[in-house]
């Protein structure tokens, strides 16, 4: 399901469409809410989110970013965080938390701070209502996908911000191209590494880098995408 979502995300051409795709993530990821919020190096902001407009307005009116533990813990940082690791004990924070829950944000949340190029920063959050056990098993099962999809949404937002060309041009280094070409020809990792005279770990990292640049969910998709974009010659 996430595979086809990523495929569709690739074709997004405007920020309006991106907003629709972030909203659609709610169903794809099976959560109550999804928030994507980006601040670029010049301070420009972009947000796409599923919270109710009333809650967003209230949050802005009260300037809750000042005391929101999620914002405090994530801003300009880069480790993903379960909201249960945050400190909600302060009285004002408890009140804020109560209001958030009353507004349907959910009692559980997981946030992924994202560091982009040149000081760009974004925060991706999913939240919902669940017991601690349910939430723990949800995040454990989906954490990899949450990390990937949050970064892919961010890559798309950066691409749209850059504007100019609609066709996304991915440039791979010759070594990344070599690694994917070997896989496209049916070599396994060990054979590919051996043919390129590099270690398997090195090969894995080169493929991982290429996969990320190609916005692919896994290696197979990365090879397919590189082939369809004419980046590989076999």
């Amino acid at each position: 399901m996430l595979d086809s979502y990523i495929e569709q995300l690739q074709r997004v051409e405007t920020l309006g469409e991106l907003n629709d795709h972030v909203v659609a993530l709610r169903d794809t990821l099976d959560v109550e809410h999804v928030v994507y919020h980006s601040v670029n190096s010049t301070g420009e902001q972009y947000a796409a989110l599923t919270y109710s407009p009333e809650w967003v307005q209230h949050y802005l009116d009260e300037d809750y970013a000042r005391l929101d533990p999620v914002v405090q813990a994530c801003y300009q940082r880069f480790h993903p965080i379960d909201w249960k690791r945050l400190d909600w004990t302060n009285k004002n924070v408890r009140n804020f938390h109560g209001e958030a829950i009353d507004s349907g944000i959910g009692n559980q949340g997981f946030s992924v701070p994202i560091r982009g190029p040149s000081g760009q920063f974004a925060l991706f959050t999913v939240s919902g209502n669940a017991s601690d056990d349910q939430w723990a098993s949800y995040t454990e099962e989906h954490v990899r996908n949450l990390l990937l999809v949050s970064h892919f949404v961010n890559q798309k937002a950066l691409e749209l911000e850059r504007g100019t060309d609609k066709v996304k041009v991915v440039s791979l280094s010759p070594r990344e191209t070599d690694a994917l070409t070997m896989l496209a020809m049916g070599f396994n990792r060990a054979q590919a590494a051996d043919s390129l005279s590099i270690s398997e770990h090195t090969l894995r990292v080169y493929i991982e880098s290429a996969r990320f640049k190609l916005t692919a969910m896994n290696t197979t998709h990365a090879v397919a995408r590189a082939l369809s974009q004419g980046l590989l010659i076999i």
């Binding site: 813990a73 480790h79 690791r85 560091r115 954490v143 270690s199 770990h201 990292v205 080169y206 991982e208």
Partner: protein, 213 residues
């Protein structure tokens, strides 16, 4: 004890922070002769220290720096991608699952256990944050020491010679290596988790709704 501290929190640990930057000057400028910039106050810092990196720092019993290293996500700007592409086959390493580790530094006379504890700290970061690898820039002569501590890197490339030799390498985050690092560091599983939770917050159960007033 190990502390995990973002740069924007270093001000809460003034003695620890200052001694770390002083020890970096001693190691990278005085001892290794790397082309690093020293400040008037005798500390060594570079542009990546201004990018809010995450430091893993060994704090000794007096609150002073015993050893440290610095992490940045490879999705943002990194030293490897900015300056060492000639050592990575020209591959810009970028992934949410790979962080960069630089400035592995030991206080003068630091015992081997501190190196092991730092490696353990790196492992804890990787395992807790779902990373596959870390890509590091380091003094090439450290390779044997890393290997002896039970977690050696895969070398991507080395430039320079002798004490000037600088390598770029990969560490794979493999849970199976953690017990060995705990043993080398002389730290128990529980203590290492405690240090991690103290820095990043422990998983606290959400409060149950009150049954009645």
């Amino acid at each position: 004890m190990l502390r995990y501290i973002y740069a924007d929190d270093l001000h809460r640990f003034p003695r620890l922070a200052r001694s770390m930057f002083v020890d970096r000057a001693t190691q990278f400028h005085d001892r290794l002769g790397w082309d690093v910039t020293l400040r008037d106050d005798g500390t060594e810092r570079d542009a990546y220290d201004d990018a809010n990196p995450l430091y893993v720092i060994w704090e000794d019993a007096t609150g002073r720096h015993g050893g440290s290293m610095r992490f940045l996500p490879t999705t943002g700007d990194t030293m490897v991608n900015d300056h060492f592409l000639h050592l990575t086959d020209g591959v810009e390493i970028k992934s949410p699952f790979i962080w960069e580790c630089t400035r592995f530094c030991l206080a003068p006379g630091a015992p081997a256990q501190i190196s092991a504890a730092l490696m353990l700290g790196g492992m804890e970061l990787g395992l807790n944050n779902h990373l596959s690898h870390s890509v590091g820039v380091f003094d090439a002569r450290m390779v044997r020491i890393y290997a002896r501590l039970g977690w050696g890197p895969t070398i991507l490339g080395t430039a320079g010679q002798g004490r000037d030799a600088t390598s770029v390498g990969l560490w794979a985050f493999e849970p199976a290596l953690r017990p060995r690092l705990l043993a080398r560091a002389g730290v128990s599983d529980e203590i290492s988790r405690h240090w991690y939770d103290r820095s990043f917050g422990a998983l606290t159960p959400t409060s149950k709704p009150a049954l009645s007033a």
